[in-house]
Symmetry: C2
Subunit: 468 residues, 2 copies
């Protein structure tokens, strides 16, 4: 049925509000603006890539890098020497375990009595003996593992010029240091529980350990598994998977390879020129220019950091866990939603967080420290490790990494109330503070300072000369 | 109760997956990355602002602008002349209404019979007479209003140099043109319904018009209301509010003022240098460089466009509606979520959309046109209007605005299937196509081409000289 009058329709037939007005009852969806943001980010960065290419051409160059022969030889030597200290720790534990076994047998013989269930009540004298033995063992372990870190650090600081090789060796030494510490502490407690069993429920060992009770876990196979397992925390028994999915491993390793290539290109083509161009601004302390450089650096350093995070924590550790049939793959949780700086540090790097919690924070609480004091201890310890990892390979122990870690403490204290705030606003503010403090200011500023110190000491690591 | 053994806790007690793995059952929230995107956008653009300031200094200058005396006088004259044509249209309708009244009286007298309810059946002769009268009226209206547009366009094209003053005069003339057309068409149908009432239900006039039946609506007051009302569609009666909230008006006008200042600063400080720097690239047809310029321009033109949209459609039209007690404030709906280009054109500018639908699209459908053909007619008509609005004030009728509008037709056809796609993906793809096509490519490219044509013809509009 055709309408006769087409020009008279009442377009405005009832009162309505504009959807962006406060009068409007329902607020509209803004999903389209999210899409727009993604597009603007992509376009903006594509444009910067074109600009960069026009300014510098291709800066990626495999042969230009200055890998000295000595660096490679020393790096390879360290790669084989460092794990040896883990096996020295094994020998120490083996002796301690044998001694414990002998002491238990001797005690049982001498007493002749055993409480029901085979448990045995230790005398004060015996407890003192355990403590003095432990001090000896702790000293041997400490000397062994710190010698490992010391040798590596000396070699890297004085003889390995290239920062990448130095960093790899240093990271390796720190990982072995942490693993050995965990191995020693865990076996100390296991040995104590073995020698002096307690019937108190809260002293019971985790059920999962029953499969391999002390001292059965002191074997070369068990230690080798811990050596390669993607964790810093020693357990006699780990949750395991039943089979290795090789397709999964290949995919993850392909990701590691691809992301590393990406990070290398991004560093050489985008980060390096920005760092180089900021040298004279750093030297003249031109603050607005340093801020501008920092902002330009922040995006690329953020992208590299995210790629590195994914490559290491998602791709590499998952591949390693799959090969090791290691069941617990929670190497991180959703740290990107952190409503505070504290939550970020508890979630982004679970292996280190678990080590710190089990072997530093929790024992200090057990000794009666307050949780604040124990947190300070954790971050100071972590700051020292960070300074070793960054300062030694770059031959500049300038303390920025240490200060960066310790500076997290006031930030954590400041943002902690935001976690508990009602509603979404507190969480969003906390999340923004976390992103700005860490990824936009912290990382690029530290990179800028170490790069500046490096250039002040050595000049460029590359044979290329680039004119801005 | 204190735990005895703090180094033995089973950190890895059960199999778990990494939350970014495909193995993971629930995918984590990515809200934190949305916050990061906002931060990166803000930081990236703050950086570009610092860069811009260091490169150009302050480019904003009130006295530098080249407003000729002649431009101002002619602009002011046009401002008062243009609405006169609306009142000429009123005189025409007044005469037509009186004639209709007389004809109805004469018809009733001659017939002596009237159908129940006072309605009256017209003869074929009378219908023909109505049609011929309408053709006369339509010609007078057409000549009157097109003369208005023609005079304005001639004055702007030949005598008003400054593009801003020219654009304002031209927009004013086009609005009056559209309002007069709506006034004439609506009153034609109302008059027909008055002279030849029909009992068919679908021919009934909207209920809201009963308050003021034809020819009571042909008064100077009624026309004056339509002249200022924020709509292009004439109705004898509009939904009205009961009172003016002056605080609301002041807030909206403050927004208009603030946003206009923002747009002016953004254009002078950010858009103008980019446009200037792209002139030699345009001249030499250096495609990668034009693309880079287009990308740089796209962000700032997008921001200016969004500010302009909000200033006009939210702030200004709401303020005007409040002052006019105009009830229907739906000047736009959530076009930013458009899943296709078609939805965008139907939602971003409701006044023009409503005019086109009521006075172009719907009547053509009534004449038996297909919906596709009617759409083509709408976009061709709209293209002509756009070319008049852009080409005449810039003194360059190069057809880009016309082509830009007509090019929407294939885009609409292409993205229409995405509207109906199941799931969210089709809508997101359609939304991205809309954003890219319109705000990232369409707008900046058109701006670049008209700016290039302008500069080729006149050189710079500003007395400042800027070196890149």
């Amino acid at each position: 049925m055709k309408k006769k009058y087409r020009h008279v329709a009442a377009v405005h037939s009832k009162p309505r509000t504009s959807c962006l007005s406060h009068d409007s009852e329902v607020s509209p969806s803004f999903l389209g603006f999210r899409n727009l943001m993604v597009i603007v980010l992509v376009v903006g960065n594509l444009r910067l890539m074109i600009e960069n290419f026009k300014k510098y051409g291709v800066l990626i160059c495999i042969r230009c890098h200055d890998y000295r022969r000595q660096d490679l030889i020393l790096g390879a030597a360290l790669y084989f020497i460092i794990p040896c200290h883990l096996f020295l720790a094994y020998v120490v534990e083996l002796v301690a375990a044998q001694q414990a076994r002998a002491s238990l047998r001797a005690g049982k013989k001498r007493d002749g009595t055993a409480t029901p269930g085979g448990s045995y009540i230790a005398s004060d004298e015996e407890r003192q003996k355990f403590q003095s033995t432990w001090i000896t063992i702790a000293w041997i372990h400490g000397i062994n593992v710190s010698l490992c870190l010391l040798i590596t650090s000396m070699v890297v600081y004085f003889f390995i010029h290239h920062p990448l090789i130095g960093t790899l060796a240093e990271v390796h030494a720190v990982i072995v240091w942490l693993k050995t510490a965990s191995y020693a502490f865990t076996n100390r407690d296991l040995r104590h529980a073995y020698l002096h069993p307690s019937s108190r429920e809260e002293d019971a060992l985790p059920e999962i350990y029953n499969e391999c009770p002390y001292p059965n876990n002191i074997t070369l196979g068990n230690l080798t598994y811990f050596w390669w397992a993607p964790t810093l925390v020693y357990q006699p028994v780990y949750p395991r998977t039943t089979r290795i999915r090789w397709v999964f491993v290949v995919k993850r390793m392909a990701e590691v390879f691809g992301l590393n290539a990406f990070m290398w290109i991004a560093s050489a083509q985008y980060a390096a020129p920005v760092l180089r161009n900021s040298l004279d601004k750093m030297a003249s302390l031109d603050l607005p220019s340093i801020l501008e450089r920092l902002m330009k650096l922040s995006t690329i350093s953020l992208v590299i950091w995210l790629a590195g995070f994914f490559a290491l924590f998602q791709s590499f550790l998952n591949a390693l866990a799959e090969v090791m049939k290691f069941g617990d793959r929670e190497f991180y949780t959703d740290w990107w939603n952190s409503p505070s700086v504290g939550v970020y540090w508890r979630t982004w790097n679970k292996p280190v967080y678990q080590f710190m919690k089990r072997h530093v924070f929790s024992p200090l609480i057990g000794r009666g420290w307050s949780s604040g004091a124990a947190s300070i201890a954790v971050f100071v310890f972590s700051g020292v490790l960070h300074e070793i990892l960054v300062g030694i390979p770059t031959h500049n122990i300038i303390g920025v990494a240490f200060i960066g870690m310790v500076a997290q403490l006031p930030l954590i204290a400041m943002t902690a109330p935001l976690e508990k705030m009602d509603g979404i606003n507190g969480r969003i503010i906390g999340n923004c503070i976390f992103w700005i403090s860490f990824t936009l200011i912290g990382q690029p500023l530290a990179a800028l300072l170490y790069f500046f110190a490096w250039q002040a000491k050595y000049g460029t690591v590359s044979k290329q000369t680039v004119t801005a």
